[in-house]
Symmetry: C2
Subunit: 141 residues, 2 copies
């Protein structure tokens, strides 16, 4: 794995474009968000506002945690609450011109990263899977 | 990143030992399993039998998917079904003596791997986080 080659990797090529990224809107109910998460099969997805700007992340864990009562999970609360109240607004984001090393560093604690272009427009996500597959290709060389 | 050093990494040192691994039992109800998953905060955990052998993986996604009806998520079904009916029994497992390259390859498609010793006893899990942190330390050298 020649460091010089892996660190020169452009992250643009690894990004899943926004058209293929499941997401929810700020104002969605938790019930709707949980249905999107269950139907997509993903643990967590980005939360966008109406102009497609990234606002946060929502996950099955955050939604279920917010309705966990003393004895049981209180499902009836899902319809009364909204994504904005429960989402994690500290979203790991990077520019598509940042280095691969920076993407590797952020992916240590984040299953995926939200990628923006120079004007701050959300262009897609970079997953741990894409980073690990690239590292494996280099190690095999 | 001298390939010679990263591929020589012992995976034993990266394993989260079984005492620190959240898990459920085969016979648990889905209701109990979902509570363990929500309280631990993990998306997925190993399923063990009574002699601590790995039998499969269970996740919030698999549980919620199994009770997804036409219109809504049918939570009342959770108490009637058991982990064994819903778990994924194709568990990614490796020996603690396998190579780091093998762990890297398996982690491309699996958030964590179940690690066994030579006698087939479950000793812990290896996470993508541990693999990514190691790769990052090497790239930085
Ligand atoms: N439908 C599917 N087909 C094949 N493999 C699947 C899959 N769903 C999940 N996986 C596998 O499981 C890993 C964990 O998925 P999870 O949903 O927990 O965690 C995912 C999910 O929260 C998010 N994600 C991935 N792709 C997404 C997309 N198109 N839209 C929105 N979120 C996505 O990024 C996290 C990391 O994704 P990553 O690919 O590294 O890692 C994925 C992938 O290796
Ligand atoms: N309590 C916590 N404290 C700090 N960071 C946390 C955390 N819970 C989750 N994370 C972060 O989120 C990532 C995804 O967690 P997830 O629960 O979807 O997916 C986890 C979970 O399904 C499983 N896992 C990790 N540690 C576990 C444990 N002690 N017992 C059982 N399963 C575990 O392995 C998957 C990958 O774990 P990994 O560490 O690579 O990746 C973790 C970690 O980077």
């Amino acid at each position: 794995l020649q460091t010089s080659t892996i660190v020169d990797q452009e992250i643009k090529e690894l990004v899943i474009p926004i058209d293929n990224v499941a997401h929810v809107q700020l104002g969605n109910s938790l019930e709707h968000a949980l249905l999107v998460l269950v139907k997509s099969g993903y643990s967590a997805v980005p939360v966008l506002d109406l102009s497609f700007k990234i606002k946060g992340l929502i996950s099955k864990t955050l939604i279920l945690d917010s309705i966990l009562g003393m004895e049981r999970i209180e499902y009836e609360k899902l319809a009364d609450h909204h994504v904005e109240e429960v989402m994690n607004s500290k979203v790991p984001r990077m520019k598509d011109t940042d280095t691969f090393t920076r993407a590797l560093e952020l992916s240590i604690n984040q299953p995926f990263l939200c990628i923006e272009n120079d004007e701050g427009i959300f262009i897609g996500i970079l997953t741990r899977r894409a980073i690990l597959a690239l590292v494996y290709r280099h190690v095999r060389k």
